[in-house]
């Protein structure tokens, strides 16, 4: 009886815990706090934070409980992350939710979504230069796309070991869009530029909206076939939304489905974030390079908008270039906020949505290009 009791006690978390578990549990609690109390991306940070608690409870090895132990519940659910099932499903929901009409009204603004991807490639080169292997450098660079599912998609393919830190960095920077972007935007623009008013976008016909997902899909996937899972689902979701005749499917994709997948993705990514991969100097490098990537992406969009103004007859407000990072619609809202500080009657939100949603497509294509290069 005494032996049984001792054995039982030695199997409890209290007996198995070490200081690294404690640190990771605290990190999880901080992430939950940021989501709940500060409401930074709560839909993502709360599941990730709780997942970190689940993944860092000290348990007996080979008991079939841990996320990396074959046959465990968490391992089955994590399969959707490691085999790139969840990110495309999230893209299906995003497609079924997103209105591309502002982008179609003025297609030239798509270039801003492409320009912001410079941050990804600059950081990729930077990470290579400081010694990260190419596959990890590519996964770190994609953080600058400010698109969590795309970052997870690429990392699962190239550097699955780093899914945890990269996902936490990507979602944290998405949450910090209102903090990181405004100083960069103000630094790179003059007051006169921030005051530029843009004309109302033209109305986009229903036919254009229905044709777009089909043509867009064909063009993008011929250009970057590796983007097929993400963009295939994105454009399919958008077709469901725009064609109207399958509203029930569109509604499921943009509500229940995306929410269920977000829960599964968030919890398992959190649970996979364990001390041996998170509490390393490499993680500090990932967070620092991720911030750099995000800042460069923002700056690239703004600077490219200024360059476009040299050639455009109808000038664009360069602030909207910052929305070229994905983070839909938070970065468009930040553009609106910064523009309105200069002129409360200037409304940039709708204009900023164009580069913002093209940034989603742009980061998926950037991920596909990196993946293709790494597979050569």
């Amino acid at each position: 009886m005494e032996n049984l009791l001792i054995e039982f006690l030695s199997n409890t978390g209290f007996a198995l815990v070490d200081y690294r578990n404690i640190i990771m549990l605290l990190v999880g609690i901080i992430i939950i706090y940021l989501g709940v109390a500060k409401q930074y991306e709560p839909l993502l940070l709360v599941p990730i934070g709780f997942g970190m608690l689940i993944g860092n409870i000290p348990i007996i090895k080979d008991f079939g409980l841990g996320i990396y132990e074959s046959g465990s519940f968490l391992n089955y659910v994590y399969y959707g992350v490691t085999h790139d099932i969840y990110p495309p499903l999230i893209f299906l929901g995003i497609g079924a939710l997103t209105d591309f009409s502002t982008m179609l009204a003025r297609p030239v603004l798509m270039l801003l979504g492409a320009a912001a991807q410079i941050g990804i490639f600059t950081t990729f080169l930077g990470a290579l230069a400081i010694g990260f292997p190419p596959n990890e450098a590519a996964s770190i660079g994609i953080i600058g796309g400010a698109d969590g599912p795309t970052a997870i998609f690429l990392t699962a393919m190239l550097a699955p070991r780093l899914i945890g830190p990269i996902a936490v960095a990507a979602y944290s920077y998405m949450a910090l869009v209102p903090v990181i972007q405004p100083p960069i935007m103000r630094l790179l623009t003059t007051r006169k530029e921030r005051l530029i008013r843009m004309e109302e976008p033209r109305e986009v016909s229903k036919r254009e909206k229905i044709i777009f997902p089909i043509v867009g899909f064909l063009l993008c996937c011929f250009l970057a076939p590796a983007a097929l899972p993400l963009l295939g689902m994105l454009f399919f979701g958008n077709l469901l939304k725009e064609c109207v005749v399958v509203e029930r499917l569109a509604k499921t994709a943009r509500t229940s489905l995306i929410d269920i997948v977000t829960i599964l993705l968030g919890v398992t990514v959190g649970a996979s974030t364990q001390a041996d991969v998170f509490l390393t100097r490499q993680s500090i490098g990932i967070f620092a390079l991720g911030a750099f990537s995000f800042a460069i992406a923002t700056a690239s969009g703004v600077i490219f908008a200024k360059i476009m103004n040299l050639f455009l007859r109808k000038k664009i407000n360069p602030l909207i270039g910052a929305a070229g990072v994905s983070a839909v619609p938070n970065s468009a809202r930040v553009v609106q906020m910064v523009g309105q500080k200069e002129d409360p009657t200037n409304f940039l939100l709708m204009h900023a949505m164009a580069p913002n949603i093209s940034g989603v497509i742009g980061s998926a294509i950037a991920a596909a290009i990196l993946w293709s290069f790494m597979s050569l």
Binding site: A37, R333, F347, I357
Partner: protein, 146 residues
């Protein structure tokens, strides 16, 4: 409980919207009964929900103990959910029992993403309300009186 189109149409914020636009908003607005003394927003907390008054009296208190009451149908509480600083600038307390419609900030973001033209229209209207209310919140109204 989601709300009906006629109720939305009767509110100043949505008065200019067409039937199709109101149909998109209706599932996002939820009816809530409020009891006397209930706190809807607390100054300084992250703004996650905004409320539109259907009935009842509400007191809003801002910095330097500046307060005013809202009691008209269509008055809005918690505008910081959709405009800066995204943190409640005042505390709102129900002075009587009442009814409000509420919308979550997350739902408003989804609305912007799914129909940016509609999101833009609502933002413009909210901006008008904020600029009307600003002098009362900052005290500029009192300075103007004297």
């Amino acid at each position: 409980m989601s709300t009906d189109i006629q109720t939305l149409k009767s509110l100043d914020l949505f008065a200019d919207l067409n039937f199709g636009e109101l149909e998109q908003i209706a599932p996002l607005m939820h009816l809530m009964k409020v009891t006397e003394g209930e706190v809807l927003t607390r100054k300084g907390e992250p703004a996650g929900t905004f409320f539109i008054i259907l009935s009842g009296n509400f007191m809003l208190s801002f910095k330097e103990e500046r307060t005013f009451t809202l009691h008209n149908k269509g008055n809005i509480i918690g505008l910081s959910t959709v405009v800066t600083p995204f943190r409640y600038t005042g505390t709102a307390v129900a002075l009587t029992d009442g009814l409000v419609l509420l919308m979550q900030g997350q739902d408003f973001l989804r609305l912007i993403q799914s129909n940016s033209a509609l999101g833009d229209k609502i933002m413009q209207k909210i901006n008008e309300i904020v600029s009307e209310r600003m002098p009362y919140m900052t005290g500029a109204w009192e300075e103007r009186r004297y």
